[in-house]
């Protein structure tokens, strides 16, 4: 093998080159570098410190932050449900009629109605209309004994259901308030502009006020209050009664009577409820079948 020009010629030269200051220094540095890392963990500390310094620049990813996001979503969902419920509760609390309650609750929404509040709303109805919702004696049994713990209102597609429930959450009595029915009940308190002849259901059953009252007073005395269950509604009206109509069908044991009032050149119709059997007696007199 040929001697290369840069190869040392003697062993001494070899040793000198091998154990040069540079080589020894490099070796010591390398060993110290490795040993110091194992001893002082400076590399880990350095990297750790760097990562800590850049922590805020990084994104919130990973299982932990995902959990945080899920928690935040959960709170949002719950708050939405609760807010919705609170809104419904406030609307129901402020309701001054059953119609307002029906308006306040959407399908599936529910609130608890105070017993006193229910009583107030019930008493604001005229006795006849109230009786159509629930018999007063039944209501006394439900509300004035310790039977009912709460009244639970649940919104339905067509109205609300009122559940009278006991302390074990069992339904004792249920009232279904349909939107159109309750609206109609409420509107009965107010006369609507127009004439009886405009309403198809009265066709053929419209009588002058004189004829009507003449027939009324031919009825037995005890029957008259059943014919005018809510006379105060009529007394409150301004103007004079021109004619009275009898609705052509009964609903739940009642028949509507329409009173046409004339006042300052205008005409208004007020609908009131009358007991079906009393109206039937009255009709017989009006038709001359009974004297």
């Amino acid at each position: 093998m040929m001697q290369r020009w840069y190869d040392p010629f003697t062993v001494g030269e070899w040793a000198k080159r091998t154990f040069s200051f540079f080589n020894i220094g490099l070796l010591i540095f390398t060993v110290a570098f490795g040993a110091s890392e194992f001893r002082f963990d400076w590399c880990e500390k350095l990297v750790g410190t760097y990562l800590l310094a850049t922590n805020d620049l990084r994104s919130e990813t990973g299982a932990l932050w995902e959990t945080g996001r899920q928690t935040s979503n959960a709170h949002k969902s719950l708050n939405r449900i609760i807010t919705q419920r609170e809104d419904s509760r406030r609307s129901v609390q402020n309701a001054d009629s059953f119609y307002n309650i029906v308006e306040s609750l959407g399908p599936g929404e529910w609130v608890t109605l105070e017993k006193e509040h229910f009583k107030r709303l019930y008493l604001s109805l005229s006795p006849g209309i109230g009786r159509q919702l629930i018999e007063p004696s039944h209501l006394v049994w439900l509300l004035n004994t310790n039977l009912t713990d709460r009244i639970f209102c649940e919104g339905m597609t067509q109205g609300v259901s009122l559940y009278f429930i006991d302390s074990r959450n069992r339904v004792i009595h249920q009232i279904d308030l349909k939107k159109n029915t309750i609206g109609e009940i409420q509107s009965r308190n107010e006369p609507v502009p127009g004439r009886l002849t405009d309403i198809e259901a009265f066709s053929g059953h419209i009588y002058s006020s004189e004829k009507f009252f003449e027939a009324v007073f031919k009825l037995p005395v005890e029957m008259i209050p059943e014919l005018m269950v809510d006379p105060e509604l009529l007394l409150k009206q301004e103007g004079t009664i021109q004619s009275v109509g009898i609705w052509n069908e009964a609903d739940g044991g009642y028949i509507k009577l329409g009173f046409e009032f004339s006042h300052r050149g205008g005409n208004r119709v007020l609908l009131i409820q009358a007991r079906e059997w009393a109206v039937w007696q009255l009709s017989l007199i009006l038709k001359g079948e009974i004297q």
Binding site: M1, D7, P8, V11, W14, T18, N23, L26, L27, T30, E37, F38, D41, E44, K45, V47, G48, T49, Y50, L51, L52, T54, N55, D56, R58, S59, E60, T61, G62, A63, L64, W65, T67, G68, Q70, T71, N73, A74, H75, S77, L78, I81, I82, R85, W110, F152, Y163, I165, R168, N169, R170, V171, Q174
Partner: protein, 673 residues
């Protein structure tokens, strides 16, 4: 000289090459760190924020907490038993207090083993690395994930003290059975605070995080004790305890807290509950919303139900000759395969509240909830719906006479239906009460041709059967598929004499502040005529007293009860659904794979032999201490004595049966043809 020179030259080259490779590696390493660091997750500050997730609580029917979801009961380090701290450090990372996030020697060793020793993979994660992994990363095994986890561990070490890291770790690790964090684990497994853990208990718990399912002491107690030996050895090796202490601890078998065993994640009831809650509110609200759910579960009844199903199925194993050989295998394969399964649902008849639910013999072997999700043929268990329909539409009553004879019913587009009796014989005239009692198929078939199958399925649906039912004649013999929950719910309508309550799992749901999200109200829905329902109940009482369910009396349940057995063709399903006035329980037994239930002698196992004993076992315990209450009799019902073979008043000395008749119904009317 030349050879020495070549050797030295070689060494020198290797040395410089190493320096070069080392330098490049260091530079590459730093480059990699800067590169990967951009994708690392942000670390919360302070670290204790990791335990700030609100827990959703599930309560039983008495208001006791059953379990917490996402629950982490954080405790400060000083409130945790020193035994546990030592045990976990010795087992998971004995150099925890020395390293700075990474145990380099262990990592190098693990790397060497993983790379050069085939079939061996060594882990070297420190406690800090495990914390990083649990907080931010998936359990996917990759170098990339491992490297990221290592970097996050370095950051955690840089930002926190060792005590803070250890505190976060022990409050966050998963011990199995739904227990996250040491305090919850201590309460779950031993019913005590983590401060009170002794060495035997602490070392057992410290062994669980390695594989919470495999070492779950509730399921594999012996395996968990074996693992504990490893923990104790590590504690001795690291100098935390002496050998004598380890021996003493190893000799102790800590008693597990069994009180709320169904509170653990892994119960069929909770699975069904979760499913319903998630459907209503979504996963985020259920697991992270901190809601409070007040369930209907009666832990006492649930415990009886679990034991009754377990013992009943073991009894069935014995009856069928299914046992283990010396290899832990039965004739068909592993012990967990090809064993009959069972399900039980118990419903409070007064409200519809589900008080207990067992969906299989062992949740950990099979999570499939047979009580709710399994639909099987009910067999004769469906006949009460047919009899009620017949009473309602045909005007017949329990004393009406019919003939048990061969019948052939024409079916459009199919061959004639010729139902057979269970005993393969015909017994002539009998009253309907006897027909149900003896589960006579030919009479049921005659009735369904008269009522029409539509009326029967409509009635079953009105009673609350939610599974789809086929409008075919054979529906009267129970060929449609139903679940035990369907059967329990529908039979409770009979128990209530016609009042239906939909079965439900929870009463109330609140948010963390006690604001009500949902409240159950119990509404009576009258779906059956009380008098006709009572007549069916009276017939079912006879089934329990003298009919196919009489094994219940033999097993010792003597209270008022009514019910009906059900056995399907070829003994694939064995049912018993029965009730007292207050509790309705449906029990199903059978194989998942529709295999026959046959005894060692080759005879088929009926509902009376397979399911009724489970029912009796459960009811005996469930009704213990409860006031005995008879079924109420409607006002328009009177009892009359009748000759069971003629349907007329009995002859003196002749056979007598008693039947309830509704006002207007008379005995000895014309026989129904």
């Amino acid at each position: 000289m030349k050879s020495v020179s070549r050797l030295i030259s070689l060494f020198r080259m290797i040395f410089f090459l190493c320096i070069l490779v080392g330098s490049i590696s260091i530079l590459g390493g730093f480059f990699l760190i800067f590169h990967v660091a951009r994708d690392l997750p942000k670390l919360p500050s302070p670290l204790s924020r990791i335990i700030e997730t609100p827990q959703s609580l599930i309560y039983d029917s008495t208001g006791q907490v059953l379990m917490g979801l996402g629950e982490r009961k954080a405790v400060p380090l000083e409130m945790v038993s020193k035994n546990f701290i030592n045990a976990i450090v010795a087992t998971e990372d004995h150099r925890f207090f020395e390293h700075h996030g990474i145990n380099k020697l262990r990592t190098l060793k693990a790397l060497y083993i993983t790379l050069f020793e085939s079939d061996r993979v060594q882990g070297a994660s420190t406690i800090t690395q495990q914390l990083a992994k649990n907080l931010f990363f998936s359990f996917e095994q990759s170098w990339h994930r491992k490297f990221k986890e290592m970097l996050v561990a370095l950051q955690i070490e840089a930002a926190n003290t060792k005590e803070q890291i250890l505190n976060a770790y022990i409050n966050q690790i998963y011990f199995g059975a739904g227990a996250q964090g040491i305090e919850k684990a201590s309460q779950t497994f031993f019913g005590k605070s983590s401060f009170e853990l002794n060495l035997a208990e602490a070392s057992l718990l410290a062994g669980l995080p390695k594989s919470p399912t495999r070492y779950n002491p509730f399921r594999h107690y012996e395996r968990a004790l074996k693992r504990r030996e490893v923990v104790l050895e590590r504690m001795v090796a690291t100098g935390f305890i002496s050998s004598l202490d380890a021996q003493k601890a190893a000799a102790t078998h800590p008693e597990l807290h069994q009180g709320r065993v169904d509170a653990r994640r892994g119960s069929y009831f909770l699975d069904a509950l979760m499913k319903e809650l998630i459907q209503t509110y979504g996963e985020d609200v259920v697991f992270h919303g901190g809601i409070r759910v007040y369930t209907t579960l009666d832990t006492r009844l649930q415990s009886f139900a679990r034991d009754a199903v377990k013992q009943g199925l073991e009894r069935l194993d014995g009856l069928m000759g299914i046992g283990l050989n010396e290899n832990g295998l039965n004739e068909h394969g592993p012990a967990t395969i090809d064993r009959p399964q069972g399900a039980l649902v118990a419903i409070d008849t007064g409200s519809g509240a589900i008080k207990a639910m067992v969906g299989g013999r062992d949740y950990y072997t099979s999570e499939f909830n047979r009580a709710v999700d399994s639909r099987r043929q009910a067999g004769s268990g469906f006949k009460p719906f047919l009899y009620y329909t017949a009473f309602q539409t045909l005007g017949v009553h329990p004393g009406t006479i019919m003939t048990d004879k061969p019948v052939s019913i024409k079916v459009a587009g199919a061959k004639d239906w010729e139902p057979q009796n269970f005993e393969r014989q015909f017994n002539g005239n009998m009253i309907l009460k006897s027909a149900l009692n003896r589960s006579v198929n030919t009479i049921a078939a005659q009735l369904v041709t008269m009522t029409g199958p539509e009326a029967v399925t409509a009635l079953a649906k009105a009673c609350g059967v939610k599974s789809p039912l086929e409008n075919v004649y054979s529906v009267a013999l129970g060929t449609s598929l139903v679940s035990p929950l369907d059967m329990a719910g529908a039979f409770s309508v009979f128990a209530n004499l016609g009042i239906k309550h939909d079965p439900f799992l929870f009463w109330r749901v609140e948010d963390a502040f006690g604001r009500v999200l949902f409240e159950r109200i119990v509404q009576n829905k009258k779906v059956l005529d009380p008098a006709l329902a009572f007549q069916v109940v009276d017939m079912m009482k006879a089934v329990v007293d003298t009919g196919s369910g009489r094994s219940i009396r033999g097993l010792g349940f003597q209270g008022p009860a009514a019910g009906k057995t059900g056995t399907t063709d070829n003994y694939k399903d064995a049912w018993f659904t029965g009730f007292t006035p207050s509790l309705c329980v449906s029990v199903w037994t059978g194989f998942d794979k529709k295999k026959r239930l046959k005894s060692k002698k080759g005879t088929g196992i009926t509902g009376g032999r397979g399911a009724a004993p489970i029912w009796a076992d459960f009811m005996i315990n469930a009704m213990k201490g409860e006031p005995e209450r008879a079924f109420s009799v409607p006002n328009n019902i009177r009892f009359e004595a009748v000759d069971p073979f003629t349907g007329c008043a009995p002859e003196p000395g002749g056979p007598v049966s008693s039947v309830p008749l509704k006002t207007g119904q008379v005995l000895c009317g014309e026989a129904v043809q």
